[in-house]
Chain length 162, copies 4
């Protein structure tokens, strides 16, 4: 089994630059996390963009969808900012034969206390185990695309609708 | 969906006591890791035993199986030492209607560099996504029970046989 | 021996808020770091302000000096942003009978990789050991006030002049 | 100013080997910690031995003393196991013109929660600031050799005598 990891930016990859107190999306953190966890699965990284998810627009979403469709892999893990992750997830539904799982983090992977490492594990476990379709992996939970949204005040993802 | 977390000991829960340089299995680390990762799923902890997996015997395995069978939950995550994890996995096959995923760690969760947090995420993602059956979640990979063993020299789990 | 810890803000206390991607000076990190290090010395915290050091002005520096003069302790450790730490240090020279050491961090204490914990140790070691006077403790080095500046491009403090 | 770092083993350098659950003194952790803290001071490492401090005998202490006497540096930081650190400290008194500071850790540097990094900072701050003599840097405190012992039950160092 082979997994494609598509990175698009978001808090999970945020870094902090002291000189100017800037806070920017940096290099994908996935290779570092996978190495530390001893991931022995066959996987490939494609870094599509480095954006806050509030800046991701329809064109970006079309590019993400195109990358999923073009990929030889049938299992795709996408890292994405949390604010619009559920919107992107909905735009990816209906791609035949592909299991897609989106994840991200509420605190940067470079923090001492972060959900990034756990969430990447969660998503990698789900993407290997689910049938084709689109899911979100956040807060220890696997949500179906279209049935989840971020509760910004509570700082967590919640199931929606019936 | 509700998940039962059964803990049995192993490196994942190892702690170090300075005074006597002892190195023992301590409190389950799962509640701490789940809290830090913001796990919002419904889950319950049952701490069955605290053993190095080399000390886990047939009686212990029978107790683990009985706990799985008796659990009201149909999704069960088991933390276990790595040395005999694949043996325990095989002993749990054939329980009808239960999705069981075993995981553990090569380095204690209390270490700065550890696979414990990632592995717990990996197992939690898989246990929510798989149909009934028994699997191992290690090295970023979901293995089927009976088709995996630990390569002690390489320090990782590998698929076996055809 | 009793040590006063004066906090003024700076990167060492920076926290990150996801919802709005704000990045602000938070609670002093010193109590947490001292607890984890098992500090058994008698010490007292006074949180004077929470500012980026680029925002610290002459009035603030007068307040810091007044707090040093008024303190019953003769040993004072000050945490401060790095950009103007050397300026504040110079403004504190000439207080009779007080050993003052300033420190801070180039990466927030809440990061996985940070100089904050080491620097607080460095400053606490120096403030107990030096005669009255003002010093900076950064980059593993104890500098005399007036003979040090931050090299922003290199991201480190360097001795100046003869 | 140039500092010699002599390493002798102890908990600070302990590592854990999964395969056999051994727990041994590993490579000195100092270079890693100094790099992460951006130490820009001139320093040199000499790894004398790798022992639990309960195994350090009179011959070892003579070797440590000889290394201090032979060193071109006048400032020497020694890492040492905590159980007999105060004994070694006493054996090093009376070396003319040398400022010697011993430190170690109650939890290995490779742990998520450890006093090792703070203690190395503490010792490096003290060794640059003190006049010739022998001191211990533990629990955030600079103790004079001969006036300190480890309280094993409380797990901390305490001043002794008058």
């Amino acid at each position: 089994m082979s997994v494609l990891v598509l990175t698009t930016g978001g808090t999970i990859d945020k870094v902090y630059f002291d000189a100017s107190s800037e806070y920017e999306v940096g290099e994908p953190t996935v290779p570092h996390v996978f190495r530390e966890a001893g991931v022995a699965l066959d996987w490939r990284l494609e870094s599509l963009m480095r954006k806050d998810s509030l800046e991701i627009n329809d064109e970006d979403r079309a590019a993400i969808r195109a990358a999923c469709e073009a990929a030889p892999e049938s299992r795709i893990l996408i890292t994405h900012g949390t604010d619009t992750m559920s919107i992107t997830a909905e735009k990816l539904t209906g791609i035949s034969g592909k299991t897609i799982v989106l994840t991200g983090a509420l605190a940067p992977a470079r923090f001492k206390t972060t959900d990034a490492i756990f969430n990447l594990g969660l998503a990698l476990g789900a993407v290997q185990s689910l049938p084709p379709g689109v899911h979100l992996a956040m807060n220890g939970t696997i949500f179906e695309a279209g049935k989840v949204c971020k509760n910004r005040e509570a700082g967590r993802f919640e199931a929606t609708g019936p």
